[in-house]
Each structure stands twice: as structure tokens, then as C-alpha cells.
Symmetry: D2
Subunit: 162 residues, 4 copies
């Protein structure tokens, strides 16, 4: 069995550009993160985009969907910005039913000492191995169905719908 990790960008992968002081993107940190995790299950990493999720367009979400459809693996973790994670999860939730797909991300960039990214990735890689086919969002130790979750803008946390 092999797992697929799809990188799309988001806070997890933000990079500090020291020449202009902007927090943007360079290379994905995921190769380093995967090495550090010492994953013993084979992992295939695919960088589909490196975008702030507020900048993602419909075409970007379709690219994520296409990557999931083309994947040989049945278990896929998608690292994504939290602001529109639910929107991309909706696109996949409506179209995919034969794989387990878990979205995750970070509130603090991985390269900050206090990042929650490594914790979230660890939990997503566990949820994806144990949950039935479907599309999920895993953040802060909790896993939600794609159609029963929203990001609370005040707290920054994900929560179930009313």
C-alpha cells in the first residue's frame, strides 16, 4: 500500500522571503516533513500548486480533483490553506466516492517553531488509513465530513455546522 500526499500550498507551506519580507511560497516543505516523520509506509508526494487558498480559482480546485482521480492510491492526504479548504473539499466530495481523501493544513507556517502543521499532518495520515471512502477535513485532532464543517473566522477553528 502507498499513500499519496498532494500539496496545494496554504499556510503550512508558507515561506519567508528575506529579500522583500513577504510570506509567500518557494519550494514545498513536505519532502523535509516526510523525512522528519520517518514514515515507514511508502508515500508519493505530488505538488499540484503552491497557493494561498484565498487565491485559488475554480480551475485550481479542478486540478486538485483531477490529481485525485488520476491517483493510483486509494488513500490521499491534501495539504491545503484553511480559508477555502471547505470549498475544495466540496468539489471533491461531490465527485469522488471510491477513495479516502483527508484535507489538512496549519494555522502557523511549518517553518515557525510553534507550528501545528506536523501534528495535523500526522493525524491526517492516520485518519486516511482508517476511515471509509469519503472526503474529510482533519484539523486540530478532529476529523469532519466535508459537508458538515465550517471554519469559524473568529476563533480560526473548524467546527461542525449548527
Amino acid at each position: 500500500m502507498t499513500l499519496r500526499i498532494i500539496a496545494t500550498g496554504g499556510t503550512f507551506d508558507k515561506h519567508y522571503n528575506e529579500l522583500n519580507g513577504v510570506l509567500g511560497f518557494a519550494d514545498s516543505h513536505l519532502p523535509e516533513v516526510i523525512a522528519r516523520s520517518r514514515m515507514t509506509i511508502p508515500v508519493e508526494l505530488q505538488v499540484v500548486s503552491l497557493l494561498d487558498s484565498l487565491d485559488m480559482q475554480d480551475a485550481d480546485r479542478r486540478n486538485v480533483l483531477a490529481a485525485c482521480q488520476a491517483a493510483g492510491e486509494k488513500q490521499i492526504v491534501i495539504v491545503h490553506g484553511t480559508d477555502t479548504m471547505r470549498e475544495t473539499a466540496e468539489v471533491l466530495g461531490a465527485a469522488m466516492s471510491d477513495k479516502t481523501i483527508v484535507f489538512t493544513g496549519a494555522m502557523i507556517p511549518y517553518k515557525f517553531g510553534s507550528s501545528d502543521g506536523l501534528f495535523n499532518l500526522g493525524s491526517a495520515l492516520a485518519f486516511v488509513q482508517t476511515l471509509p471512502n469519503g472526503v474529510y477535513i482533519a484539523m486540530n485532532g478532529k476529523c469532519f465530513n466535508w459537508n458538515n464543517v465550517r471554519k469559524n473566522k473568529q476563533t480560526g477553528m473548524f467546527e461542525e455546522l449548527g
Copy 2:
């Protein structure tokens, strides 16, 4: 629902004593780790011991068992040294059948920049929510049944029995 995390010590919680240069134990790092993870599920932390797992005696393992039996929670993660993680898991595996208990730990102390501890804890907290009752070991993204796992001393990695 509430999760219980039981600390027993191990590499995860090792502390560097700057006065004598010894890597031992002071307070558990788990309160800080739990805060950093931004867990939204309530977590009850219980420090049963702070020991190198090579120093654990039968009485220490029975204390871990007693803590699991006394716990009101049905889902328990145990942070434990890797060297005798399997031995303690055996004690619990033989005695507990009505809860989901997941052991985890770290190859590198949490306070080192390159620690795998946060990743392992994230995965353990996900496995414990999704697996049926039983006793498991979750390390490096993979989850093993307590009676089908060993630590490979050459590689430092956990693997299934032949």
C-alpha cells in the same frame, strides 16, 4: 467525548539538564504540546511516570494498566519510551478489551528541532478515535496490533513480526 493522554516518560519527554549535561526528565512537555496542537476535543492529561522505558519495572507497567482501567474515557493515548513499548503494550493487551488504547513515542526528544514526536502524537490521537477496541502501537505513521510488532534495534523502526 473526552480523550485521555497518559504520560509515562520516554524519549518524547526527555529534558536536557544544563547543569550536568544529562538527558533526563523534569516536567512533562505534554501540556505545551497539547496547547500547540490546538486540540478542539477535550483532553485529560495524566502523568503516571517520567521514566526511560529501559528503567520501567513490572510495577510501573501495572501502574499504567491501573490508570487505563480507572479512566472514564474509552480512548487513551499513552506516550511511552520505544525500547519497551511493546512490553507495556503486552501487559495492557492481555488485560484490556473494552477501550481503544494507542501507544506512541518519539525517536528524537520533543525539544529537539527535528523531533518526530508531534507527528506521532497527531497520528496516535487520530488512530485512537477511529480504531475498534484494542491495544495498538502507532509510530512513524503506521499502527500495529500490540501482538504483532517489534522494534528493530538496527533501524530503530517498528515492524510487523515475521
Copy 3:
């Protein structure tokens, strides 16, 4: 003898706001940095401002000057953004001749794992104890007179004037 450290903001003290994803300012990190350095010389910390140095106005630079003039200490380190560090150093250089004042900062925020801030602060605190009265900029292990330095925008590094 006591040293004074004046915080003005800059990349060194940038804080990641996880609710809106903006790299701005909250509390100064310098109390934590000073504790970590285990400085045995008494240090007086004064937060004059917490500004991106591109946002500093003439009045802000005059506040820094006033703080230096009012200080009882003869040795002052100023943590400042690199983009206009030279401009503030000019204001002080033209007005102060009875103290040793060393500007320093960081190319990468202190809270990033790879920050150069701690190194720069260590060097500035050493230069300030050993150089004669005057105003200096210490970055990346090198110390410049305030009137013979510029930031190279291409490399991000400070260098002597032609």
C-alpha cells in the same frame, strides 16, 4: 554596568497572526530572547515602538533618539528593521557622541527556526561593550560605522560604501 536594549520592531520581532495570516507585531520577543541568552550582565529592555522600519516616520526616529539621550546607560543596542536602519542610525550619529550605540536586526523573524536574530543580537551586545563611543550597525557578524554603510537591496546584506 548595565546595558540597555531598545526595541523598535523590525523583522526580528515580527509575529504571525494566525487569524488573518498577516506577519505583524504583538508583544516583543526580546524578554524571551534575553532569558534564553542567559546574559549575566544586567540588561534594561525598553520597547520604544513595534514597527516595520518601512513605516517609521521622522517622529519615530526622534523617539529613538530621545530614548538614547535619556538613558542612564553608556552602552545601547537597538533592535531595528533593516530597511531603514541606516536612516535612524544617521539621526543618532549626527546627535550622539557620548555613548556607544549599536543597531542590529534580523533577515528572518526570530520565531522562525532559521532566524539569524539571536546571532546578530549576540554580536551587537559584544560590539557595544568593546567599541568606542559612536553609532554603529552590526549585521551578520560585521560592524559598520553609521556613515559608511548601506543595505544592498539585491543581496539583502549590509556593505561599506564604495
Copy 4:
């Protein structure tokens, strides 16, 4: 002008061996540290030994002396364990008078998140550029003459002799 950095081991360079849990030595971290510091002055790094300073013998100290005598640079920083830093400084202090040599080290290994090593190295590299010929110990922001310093075993701090 070029600076020389001589590595001898010590807490600064301690490495955690994840296979046996021992804090010992592998490669020096100094190449990474020098890159992170963005030093603009050319630096020549020489690894003379990688030893806990409690394990250093007379021959090891003579090797450090020989390296200093053979160096083309007039300014040398020596990264050394704190426990016998003073003893090696004595060997050099008695024999060297034509160079500026500054010993430094760390209370916490560089690879720990909370290490003071980067701060100490920054200060040592500044002291070495500004102090007259002689042998010094720079720790925790303060610089001592080699013949007027001891490590206080209770506090772990360096202090002047009564």
C-alpha cells in the same frame, strides 16, 4: 581579513543518536550555523576534535594550541565544552600572545530549540574582532580574560575570580 573558527566539541555540538538514545557527537553543526549566521566576513572552519570537554586530555589541548599556532588568521574563535574551557584557555594563554583567541560554547546543545549557542557564537565573533591580542572566554554576553574566570558549578555560569 579572515576569521578562523576551531571546533573541539562540547555541548554546542552534541548530537542525539536516535538508535541508542545517547547524546554524543556526529558531524559538527558549525557549517550549518555559519550559513545561518549569514557571516559576510570570510570564515575558515577547522574541526580539531569532537569531544565532551570532560574527556579532553593534555594531548587534545596541545592539538588546539597547535592549530592556533599554525593558523594564518590573527582572530580565532574556539567552540569548546564549558566544563574544561578554562583549562584549555590556560594552555593557550601561557603560550600565545600574538593573536586574539576567544573561547565560547553553549549550555544547551545547538539542536535544541532553546539553545544559547547561536547567541554565544555571535558574541564571540564580535569580541574576537575588537579585543586586543590575548586569550578570552565569552559566555552569556560577557567576556573574561583567561586567567580571571571560573565556571560556577552550582549556577552553570562563568564568573570572575574573587
